[in-house]
Symmetry: C2
Subunit: 82 residues, 2 copies
């Protein structure tokens, strides 16, 4: 079944407390090689039919209205090779 | 700066209430072509130096111990082309 991936990440410069918490916890796990962590969301959408340009445009609308907060987050939409 | 992406998704068969909520909201936005939605997490880790096999093994440990719950979630680790 065709699958579309939507990735939502905090915009550059926007404070990311979840990412900072992960970054702060890493040295306690003995892992010191990381200088920054950003945490975002990943959505897998399974579509009923083949992905058309029209459907991708609709997914972008959903990403903008429902899956992300465009003020503080960027999103990308891509079709997963099946 | 080299970047490693960790993607964490609910295992197949594990209930995913966030994904179900998104799926349920889509028809209200007039978007009906989606049959399933899964929601997971995406982490971008910026490393101080070039990614070595040793570091990737450490990132996998972090993914297992800190970024995911291995009982209910799967994770993938990959190096992002820079």
């Amino acid at each position: 079944m065709p699958r579309v991936i939507v990735e939502v990440m905090p915009k550059p410069g926007i404070l990311d407390p979840q990412g900072k918490a992960v970054l702060g916890a890493m040295p306690r796990l003995g892992f010191g090689g990381v200088v920054d962590v950003r945490q975002g969301k990943r959505f897998e959408l399974e579509l009923a039919e083949e992905v058309t340009e029209d459907q991708l445009a609709q997914v972008r609308q959903v990403a903008e209205a429902l899956l992300s907060n465009p003020v503080i987050e960027d999103y990308t939409v891509r079709v997963e090779a099946s």
